[in-house]
């Protein structure tokens, strides 16, 4: 086992699949000799050559559109979008094409590809280097949406995503890229998609979170523990398709639920979790479900530390549902 950061684990996963499967290739802006702006693709061009890890012209629409064509014709492209904020020029290709190809062709054509992209705040990137757009994509049947929060999951989920027969949007929480380290097996392995990760067991309040909100929720749960509140913490890690049974079971366990995400609240992912619980296990609920989220505003810059849910706000919600 090696101790890696998340960005190193992503790099390790890419090398691992590229060694095993010559049809896997990486494309995007600055992914070649520079190794990507966050160095996630560092060393790939040197090891696998410019035909398997290459820079493209500056067009996200072009990157994703051509990746779809490659996927339709026998390659397994892993496309990098430099920041998730810049994915929108490719929105049409992702939503109208990649996600619907299998369905509209009755399974005759498919687009097994991965779109990797750093997302989320915490790096003082302002409006356009900080957004969390998962809700747009989770509203897109045909896509899978995966979000790791640990180096182990980053590698295992990315390999599973590349081997998956359907298009996967792989959202990498850039705030955690270098701040979280963990043990990562050297061999290739998969973490099954659509499975939850229990971060911490507890019987008082269930906290659902993902991405960069996981360490925030862990801190809040530690502080709650000091106050005698025992949190059950669940990292959702695949947002679509969601392990619904797992979510319902976790909700039933405590009857008190908090959902944390940094994206805006309205029509955000937390709304889906709340509705799922309300529709299926409301009779087990002891308190209203609380969401702790970013504000329903564009992402700020200097005030990003206030925009992003912090342990104070998560703890406040935990205490509210606990004392209800």
């Amino acid at each position: 086992m090696a101790t890696l950061t998340i960005v190193q684990a992503v790099n390790d996963a890419l090398k691992s699949v590229m060694r095993d499967d010559p049809t896997v290739l990486v494309l995007g802006e600055d992914v070649g000799p520079k190794g990507g702006v966050f160095l996630a693709t560092e060393g790939l061009t040197a090891e696998f050559g410019i035909e398997r890890c290459f820079d493209t012209p500056l067009s996200e629409d072009g990157i994703i559109g051509t990746a779809i064509g490659m996927a339709m014709n026998g390659l397994k492209p892993v496309a990098e979008i430099q920041f998730q904020d810049f994915i929108f020029p490719a929105f049409d290709q992702i939503v109208s094409e990649a996600a619907k190809l299998r369905y509209r062709s009755g399974g005759q054509y498919t687009a097994p590809m991965v779109i990797r992209t750093p997302y989320g705040g915490g790096i003082r990137g302002g409006l356009y280097h900080s957004q969390s757009g998962e809700a747009y994509f989770c509203h897109t049947p045909g896509l899978k949406v995966v979000v790791p929060s640990t180096p182990h999951d980053a590698k295992g989920l990315l390999i599973a995503s590349i081997l998956d027969p359907d298009p996967v949007l792989f959202l990498e929480p850039k705030a955690l890229y270098r701040s979280v380290k963990g043990e990562v097996p050297e061999d290739s392995y998969q973490v099954e998609l659509s499975t939850l990760r229990e971060v911490r067991a507890g019987d008082d309040v269930t906290v659902f979170c993902y991405g960069a909100m996981v360490p925030v929720a862990v801190k809040a749960a530690d502080q709650a523990a000091d106050k005698g509140i025992d949190c059950h913490l669940v990292d959702l890690r695949t947002l679509l398709p969601l392990d619904e049974e797992g979510v319902l079971e976790a909700a039933r366990r405590t009857g008190r639920v908090v959902v944390v995400h940094e994206a805006p609240r309205f029509c955000g992912y937390g709304a889906e979790i709340s509705a799922l619980i309300a529709e299926n296990v409301i009779e087990y609920m002891e308190a209203p479900i609380k969401r702790v989220t970013g504000f329903d505003t564009p992402f700020p810059n200097t005030l990003e530390h206030h925009y992003l849910p912090d342990e104070r706000r998560v703890l406040d919600a935990i205490e509210q549902v606990h004392s209800y």
Binding site: G126, P298, N301
Partner: protein
């Protein structure tokens, strides 16, 4: 092959027709280029010492931005691609607002909401770029059409980089402008690089100027380190656009001397010899030689001008660094004309938690519901 327009050779000798400009105006171009360089130098220094977040350097691009922007009239608009902030200073963006934006403090007209290097100045018709490469091109074309429809005499100068030429906005922008004969001028700053992607890898076209032809927009290539050539060609294009002759595409061939931004290490992907070769073609050295030869600048003049600008800048920096941060209420303001109920409630919930930790500042309390 496309001819590259040039007035001054790299050594400052005259190889083309010098535009008909007064000595005073000629000297001003140097003053403004020096200001661009001084601003860049100071911002990089602030960034290195951790006082501001990030800088998109303009070293080497001074003639491209000043030569072109100086050809615009006060009623004309500049649509920035990325690095034109210091040209906006020449056109009226106050230096203290420029520096406030770099500190993202409470004097920043964008209220600290944008990353550094996203300047704006409504007074001189300079909207900020967003960050998304290529989005401004169609905005500029639409605004140019609006000017025409409203009978205004404006020309819209729309800047973009070599990288941006691959964006959807570039193609839609040139196409629409051509079809509408919109009063605009596209200024494509080919500075050799789009982060780590060489401008030669961005297109298979023989030149960026050739791209205009496909849209019925005449394209011309100019030595972007020759401020006189840049100025002359832009002035002509602006005149054409203003006279109803339609848009043109000006390609300024220049070089980004430093990394893409202060977070980029260009040694990972480019040849130091290429950088050294471009250093020989420095736009300010070249123009200084020309002015000295012409007797418009006295020996030591450049150093004196730079020192004066740096002193002025240091004063502005001292004031702006001390300015207060934004009030937390700005978190939910300006999303809509009025702060709607759901945002008031979200803010008030936040303010309640801040207050419970004794951290709310005066004027940052709850909104009335």
């Amino acid at each position: 092959m496309v001819d590259v327009q040039r007035v001054l050779a790299a050594d400052g000798s005259v190889v083309g027709a010098v535009p008909d400009m007064s000595d005073c105006r000629l000297r001003e171009l140097l003053v403004h280029m020096l200001r661009v360089r001084c601003i860049d130098e100071r911002m990089l220094k602030l960034q290195r010492s951790g006082r501001i977040g990030f800088v998109g350097s303009t070293l080497g691009l001074e003639a491209a931005m000043i030569g072109s922007a100086a050809a615009l009239g006060p009623m004309d608009w500049m649509w920035s691609g990325l690095r034109e902030g210091a040209a906006a200073v020449m056109r009226g963006l106050p230096l203290d607002e420029y520096v406030a934006q770099m500190f993202c403090n409470s004097n920043d007209t964008a209220k600290g909401r944008q990353m550094c290097n996203h300047f704006q100045h409504a007074g001189s018709h300079y909207p900020s770029w967003s960050s998304g490469i290529g989005t401004q091109l169609t905005h500029g074309v639409g605004a140019a059409l609006a000017a025409h429809r409203r009978g205004l005499d404006e020309v819209h100068a729309i800047y973009c980089g070599d990288g941006a030429s691959s964006s959807n906005g570039f193609h839609s922008g040139l196409n629409f402008a051509g079809v509408w004969k919109a009063p605009c001028v596209f200024v494509l700053v080919d500075n050799g690089w789009a982060i780590s992607v060489s401008s030669r890898a961005q297109t298979a076209a023989e030149s960026y100027a050739a791209k205009g032809r496909a849209y019925g927009v005449p394209g011309v290539e100019v030595d972007g380190n020759d401020v006189l050539a840049v100025h002359g060609v832009t002035a002509e294009a602006v005149e054409t656009a203003r006279g109803g002759g339609g848009p043109s595409l000006i390609v300024l061939k220049t070089y980004r001397m430093l990394g893409h931004s202060s977070s980029d290490d260009p040694t990972r992907y480019r040849d130091p010899e290429e950088v050294a070769a471009w250093a020989e073609r420095d736009p300010i050295d070249r123009y200084e030689t020309f002015l000295l030869d012409r007797g418009v600048l006295e020996a030591g003049g450049r150093e004196r001008l730079a020192a004066a600008t740096l002193a002025e800048l240091d004063e502005v920096i001292r004031t702006q660094e001390a300015a207060a941060p934004m009030s937390t209420r700005t978190l939910v303001e300006d999303v809509y004309a009025e702060v709607p109920g759901h945002l008031r409630r979200q803010y008030n919930d936040f303010a309640r938690i801040q207050e419970s930790h004794g951290e709310a500042r005066p004027g940052e309390g709850a909104f009335p519901l």
